[in-house]
């Protein structure tokens, strides 16, 4: 969150709040949420380093505005579904930091009882529908959730997140076509961080992201996903359109990943130079950008910021305490919830121990 340069840049326009239709007070709220997401992911990073977290762990650091700006405008009864890079989106949809962190720690108190882990965070009550590990796999699921909304004649909306590489999965195309044909209330959001693992988007597509929904006749837009105000305003309008029966939408949210693809991958390398990452952190940090706007408009000062940051750290510390104290899932959990219905007749487990 470098100051000088970016603050100078921000000075020129101080009416950003009116432009976005977001009050400075609300903007301070957005900043607080993003600080929480940042500190949460740093805690996950730490937890992975010291072995409290295992498996694959994909951080959202640098992409906080994409989550907050797109999920912020939703109602609690709206749905969100995502891929494996979804800690922050879960928090944004109302899953508690304790529940997410406990899941990363593989504890019984985790969102998925410790069975899902970082890639499979689920919270039915918060209508956070996962947490899916197969690239593109969640996209048809989102279409199905939207199908249910139409089927039941409800006025909800589903927001489906995916990465930029997911648009090259056939399932993405099949799912968007059906959403268009049946006019379903779904917003398909590409968190376009320009890379799929080590592959730059333009190495696997000769067109721009915003083109990807054109064969289905789905209205598409691109937005600077590092600017939480613009992103929030854009989604506030989209959600209204879709809730009003406007049919599906496709949004290219342009963002950037400040860390490696997963905790086991390098931040930079042959696929992207260190300088690029540094430049992005310096000038395109979603937290830095909003902070500078608030400073420029004198809606917040350094002291206020530090207080907010301290609060974010406090929330994460509470989550950590909860997660540390949450018990490991007991051995009885091993065979629990494989089947929603254990039929009275016949054998369901074939390993000779399942029904012990």
């Amino acid at each position: 969150m470098a100051k000088t340069k970016t603050r100078a840049k921000a000075k020129v326009k101080t009416n950003v709040f009116e432009e976005a239709g977001v009050s400075p007070e609300a903007a301070v709220g957005l900043l607080g949420r993003m600080l929480l997401y940042r500190r949460f992911e740093e805690k996950a990073e730490e937890g992975y380093a010291i072995g409290k977290i295992g498996g694959f762990c994909h951080l959202h650091i640098g992409q906080e505005a994409a989550a907050e700006g797109s999920i912020g405008p939703l109602r609690p009864d709206d749905y969100v579904i995502s891929a494996y890079r979804s800690h922050t989106q879960a928090l944004a949809k109302g899953v508690s930091p304790s529940s997410v962190l406990a899941e990363l720690y593989g504890r019984a108190g985790g969102a998925s009882g410790g069975k899902g882990g970082s890639m499979h965070i689920f919270d039915a009550e918060a209508r956070f529908m996962g947490g899916h590990g197969i690239v593109g796999g969640q996209v048809p699921l989102a279409t199905g959730i939207a199908w249910k909304i139409k089927y039941r004649e409800e006025d909800g909306v589903v927001v489906c997140f995916m990465g930029d590489a997911a648009v090259n999965q056939g399932g993405f195309h099949e799912a968007l076509n059906m959403a268009a044909v049946w006019d379903l209330p779904a917003i398909y959001v590409v968190e376009n961080n320009a890379y799929g693992m080590g592959t730059a988007f333009h190495r696997v597509s000769i067109t721009e992201m915003v083109e990807k929904a054109s064969p289905y006749g789905i209205p598409a837009s691109s937005i600077d996903g590092q600017d939480v105000l613009a992103t929030y305003a854009h989604f506030r309008d989209l959600v209204e359109e879709v809730r009003g029966g406007g049919g599906p939408r496709f949004v290219d949210v342009q963002t950037y990943r400040f860390r490696g693809h997963s905790m086991s991958d390098p931040v930079s390398g042959t696929y992207r130079p260190t300088e690029e990452v540094e430049e992005k952190k310096e000038h395109h940090d979603p937290i830095g950008i909003l902070r500078d706007h608030l400073f420029a408009g004198e809606h917040l000062d350094q002291a206020g910021l530090e207080e907010m940051d301290a609060e974010a750290r406090r929330l994460v510390a509470d989550a950590e305490e909860f997660a540390d104290n949450s018990p490991l899932p007991g051995p009885e959990a091993l065979y629990a919830n494989v089947w929603a219905e254990i039929n009275p007749h016949g054998r369901l487990f074939f390993d000779g121990r399942g029904e012990d």
Partner: protein, 326 residues
């Protein structure tokens, strides 16, 4: 009791369950305006409308995933595959999403889904339309597998599958749709999953099978009777849950068994049944359990070759004679 075709029995089950539960809907290619490629869904569009009987694009992966999502959100989808041979395109959603969702979410998202359509060969449809697909669905936990062989079983088991709260791969057969049989009209005629059916009795040997091969097994039992050999014919009806007790009961009675199935031998369903029998009835076996399967080749088109490739009653009789050391 009325005499009904397998096709109409399925149609009745669909109609009754669509009537019974507003959350049940049917989606697939040609299921609505075309009444289904094999007319299983005849008339349902008119009765239930286009939100509940839905023609999909040819997007197997997509509409299967759509139905998984709809199930997450509380509906009870029935997916029709024109044949399970096309479901290879959708199997990622069946195995990685539907079959694992309930566990991954630790019980937050049950998957009351049915995937139904024909499995195995019809007549001369050749390599890409004739595979028996049971193995691909029975291997992974989280998905139940049902293979009805008669009209009554088709109706009773489909109703049970639709009411079940787990994903069910419900496997039919093109060559069964015209088969006639007695079917109870009763609206609540449900056959619980996990109960095998002893469709023919005899003391000398157990012929165990599932799906359309039941009828080949019955032919074999009749031939054997003429030679004075009595055969139990056990129709598993559901592969998961599996009625292991019924399998052990007949094997412990006859001490000899043959598994007959339509599909390929390497890791065909019979392999698992053999593995269970030899583990749980080892001392009761007077001979190895033999297996009769399709030729271990992709299905050829030419009628004469296809006939050679498919299992038949004579091969079953030969296997029975072998386990009887005759």
């Amino acid at each position: 009791m009325a005499v009904t075709t397998y096709r109409d029995a399925l149609n009745q089950a669909l109609r009754e369950e669509l009537q019974r539960d507003p959350d049940v809907f049917l989606m697939g290619e040609e299921v609505a305006e075309y009444d289904g490629a094999y007319k299983v869904s005849k008339g349902l569009l008119d009765e239930f409308g286009s939100m509940r009987v839905v023609d999909s694009p040819i997007s197997e992966l997509g509409f299967t995933g759509l139905c998984v999502g709809a199930a997450m959100a509380g509906l009870r989808p029935i997916v029709e595959f024109m044949t399970f041979n096309f479901a290879f395109l959708a199997i990622d959603q069946v195995i990685n999403s539907a079959s694992k969702m309930y566990y991954m979410s630790d019980g937050q998202f049950p998957m009351p889904l049915v995937f139904r359509g024909p499995t195995g060969a019809a007549l001369q449809l050749s390599a890409q339309h004739s595979a028996a697909c049971e193995t691909y669905y029975a291997h992974s936990p989280g998905c139940k597998v049902v293979t009805p062989a008669t009209p009554a079983d088709a109706k009773g088991l489909l109703k049970a599958s639709i009411r079940d709260n787990d994903p069910v791969a419900f496997m039919e057969g093109e060559l069964l749709y015209n088969l006639k049989g007695e079917v109870p009209d009763d609206d609540d005629f449900v056959i619980p999953l996990g109960v095998a059916d002893l469709k023919h009795e005899g003391d000398d040997v157990s012929i165990i099978t599932h799906g359309k091969m039941l009828h080949v097994a019955m032919q074999a039992a009749v031939k054997l009777e003429k030679d004075g050999i009595g055969a139990d014919v056990l129709d598993l009806r559901t592969l998961r849950p599996l009625d292991v007790d019924a399998i052990l009961r007949t094997v412990k009675k006859t001490n000899r068994a043959v598994y007959l199935e339509e599909g390929w031998s390497y890791l065909g369903v019979g392999a698992q049944i053999v593995s269970i029998i030899q583990e749980e009835a080892f001392d009761h076996l007077d001979a190895p359990v033999l297996r009769v399967t399709q030729a271990d080749i992709p299905m050829p088109y030419a009628k004469n070759l296809e006939t050679l490739a498919k299992p038949n009653a004579d091969r079953v009789v030969a296997a029975v004679n072998k386990v009887l050391y005759r």
